[in-house]
């Protein structure tokens, strides 16, 4: 049952515009050298953080299609009638969303790192920190999508909600990407906390939005 839900989310994620956040991620990464200049030492120092900001802004794009279409079209109600809990639906959405978003973003980290002049160890640190952090980012995106679904101007509101909530993940993720080492366990802990808590927050939000 949960496998069916995950497959549906993955298909919806890949079907429409999976490349959009990835291209956005690359564009933001490409803007950084234009903004701060092409000094390799400077870029090497801020590259990890720049990648994280690019990932964070890219994570905003899919939010509107994560929960709201299913609420408006009655899919969430039809699932609830079948005795599937909202928490399970949200968990499936998180897994499906990450599968459609995470691996592609990690792949795009390779060209993005080149744009920022990150070399071997810097590149592997960046990929590793995004691999650890993107599940938390996906969980946060689904939770924010559930919290804002059904509201007017949900897209703008979602941005205002997601970016501050992502600050802990950004701090430890960017620090892990730049220095590695001690920040990784903390980033992992924050990401795990988000993944563990988001299904319940999203489930409650879906129930509360039901009319």
């Amino acid at each position: 049952m949960i496998g069916l839900l995950i497959r549906r989310e993955l298909r919806r994620g890949l079907g429409g515009s999976a490349w959009l956040p990835v291209v956005f991620f690359l564009v933001v990464a490409a803007l950084v050298p234009f903004a701060v200049g092409s000094d390799p030492r400077l870029l090497g120092r801020i590259g990890g953080g720049a990648l994280w900001i690019a990932a964070l802004t890219a994570a905003l794009l899919p939010i509107e299609r994560l929960v709201e279409p299913d609420r408006a079209d009655g899919v969430l109600d039809q699932l609830a009638i079948r005795g599937i809990s909202e928490d399970a639906i949200a968990a499936a959405k998180i897994v499906g969303h990450w599968l459609a978003f995470g691996p592609l973003l990690l792949l795009a980290t390779l060209p993005a790192s080149m744009l920022l002049g990150l070399d071997g160890p810097g590149l592997s640190r960046a990929v590793a920190s995004l691999a650890v952090g993107t599940p938390g980012l996906a969980a946060l995106a689904v939770a924010v999508a559930a919290l804002t679904s059904g509201l007017a101007r949900a897209g703008a509101l979602a941005g205002l909600l997601l970016l501050p909530l992502a600050v802990p993940l950004l701090i430890f993720g960017a620090s892990a990407a730049s220095d590695g080492g001690s920040a990784f366990p903390l980033e992992g802990a924050v990401s795990l906390l988000l993944v563990a808590g988001a299904p319940f927050v999203s489930g409650a939000a879906i129930r509360a939005a039901r009319t």
Binding site: R8, G16, D73, D77, L79, A80, I81, R82, G83, R210
Partner: protein, 184 residues
Amino acid sequence: MTLVAFRSVTCIRGGRLLFDSLHLAVAPGEAVQVTGPNGCGKSSLLRLAAGLLQPTSGRIERSVRVALVDDRRALDGERTLADALGWWAQLDRSLPALEAFGLDGLAGVPVRLLSTGQARRARLARVAATGAPLWLLDEPLNGLDRAGALLLDQAIATHLEGGGAVIAASHVPLGGAWRTLALT
């Protein structure tokens, strides 16, 4: 034995009292038509019966699975009708009932291209496929043509013979014998 029973149920939505101390018991083989003017709480009654809403006071006892048709499609628009209904059938561990509602010719058509009536038939086909003993139909005739309405009557008759029950909210008369519950 009752499939669903409303015991002194009161429903208040958006600060407005829709109905008060409502009693309703639906047994296998029974068909109940809920009638009443717009906004009298017909849809809310069905959503209460489905467990999607909680009553303000009173109790709702439901002993069986339900299937609901309302004004929302709940089918992925970009998929073909057969795939979209097939997904729900997989979830319900049943087989999609395309033929029962004359949809066999549309199996390969993307859901977003279906007309209002065709999309309504698709929703009814999903309900018929669930195998749930209690059907909740919210304005099932909306958008249906004459042939579609006849197919619906047939499907309901088969369902009732098999020991199922139906609660339908509708302004217009439905075919067959219905017990009427008038809301004001």
